[in-house]
């Protein structure tokens, strides 16, 4: 149950940058309207950032000079994606993904 001053400040910094985007619209929505092009750009952010984060985990940049697929993760990703498409359920996908990853690591 310990921490350092550096960690506390880092957490506070992260808290501030996650808090501001959440509250600013609630404070300023009465007086400011964003231009349509900005709203449209923001509407692409969720899909872009989520796919970037998935892809980041699928590629292996460390093992060799050539960037390759991280095979155990990729082999787990394929059935996990199918389960997500079929169930459309966050909890089922997470539980199934973890079980498949454990199985892949056990056999590979």
């Amino acid at each position: 149950m310990t921490t350092t001053a550096y960690m506390v400040w880092l957490i506070i910094g992260c808290a501030l940058v996650t808090w501001l985007p959440r509250v600013i619209p609630f404070i300023f929505v009465r007086s400011v309207t964003l231009p349509d092009v900005a709203l449209k750009w923001l509407s692409y952010i969720p899909v872009c950032i989520l796919s970037a984060l998935v892809i980041e985990n699928l590629i292996d940049t460390e093992s060799s000079k050539v960037v390759t697929l991280d095979w155990p993760v990729f082999i787990t990703f394929v059935p996990t994606l199918l389960i997500a498409l079929i169930t459309k359920s966050l909890s089922i996908t997470v539980v199934a993904g973890v079980i498949i990853m454990a199985a892949v690591r056990f056999f590979m």
């Binding site: 609630f26 692409y44 872009c48 950032i49 940049t61």
Partner: protein, 244 residues
């Protein structure tokens, strides 16, 4: 949730949908998600070398699943504090859009209460609230507080329980727990895409293709968290330019 809402729609819309307890009830379907991801976060957090206190602080102050996981991932790669803060900011920038969508429905409440609604906004509570707004046409402050506080309390309890659990699970990678994060992003991506209209789905799939190519290319020249930032900015811009 849906059937209860519809059953009482005629006679009791204003008397039940403006109540705190109805907000609590409407939160229940999302709780399994909070509990499973929260437990996984606690375990991954302890495996990343965070203490129970640090996990509790992260959970209480940041209160955003993906941001908390990324915090751990960046900590493990010893990223500088500036890179961690900028990445977390960009990762959670989507809340700006959600907040912009919900805020117009609460302008009749005080500034302080609006700050409260925004502070506890998450992907899941946003989803529940926009669905409620579509069904009943109006959102009430007490209902929103019931929804938000239930989600917040369950998230904190789950993460902290996971942190204690993590002290007993020696190697979470062996149990596949590190994949909980990737699986969550996959599921959130699928949920995002399934809410996009059929006319736009091909546009989005093309963008994901561009994303794969750009991420691969950037991986040769910048660290992966920077690649995520740059690729997102580039592809979102391509999305706007190629939008019909």
């Amino acid at each position: 949730m849906t059937s209860t809402t519809e059953l009482h729609k005629d006679q009791a819309t204003s008397s039940s949908n403006d109540r705190f307890i109805q907000g609590v009830k409407d939160c229940v379907p999302t709780l399994l998600g909070y509990i499973s991801i929260g437990l996984a976060f606690g375990v991954v957090g302890s495996a990343s070398g965070l203490s129970v206190l640090e996990i509790a602080l992260l959970t209480i102050l940041i209160y955003a699943g993906s941001a908390q996981f990324i915090f751990c991932a960046l900590l493990l790669t010893s990223s500088p504090a500036s890179a961690i803060i900028v990445t977390i900011f960009v990762v959670n920038l989507r809340h700006l859009l959600m907040s912009l969508t919900l805020a117009p429905h609460f302008t009749r409440y005080s500034m302080l209460r609006n700050v409260g609604f925004g502070t506890l906004l998450t992907d899941e509570t946003f989803g529940v609230a926009v669905t409620k707004q579509m069904q009943t046409g109006k959102l009430y402050g007490k209902w929103m507080d019931g929804l938000n506080l239930t989600a917040y309390i369950f998230w904190i309890l789950s993460c902290v329980s996971g942190a204690f659990l993590g002290q007993w699970v020696a190697n979470p990678e062996q149990w596949g727990l590190d994949f909980a994060l990737v699986a969550m992003f996959v599921a959130l991506l699928v949920l995002q895409l399934s809410s996009v209209g059929k006319s736009k789905i091909m546009h989005y799939i093309k963008l994901i293709g561009y994303m794969a190519v750009i991420m691969y290319g950037l991986s040769y020249i910048v660290p992966s968290h920077v690649a995520v930032l740059l690729a997102t900015v580039i592809v979102a811009t391509i999305g706007v330019v190629t939008d019909k």
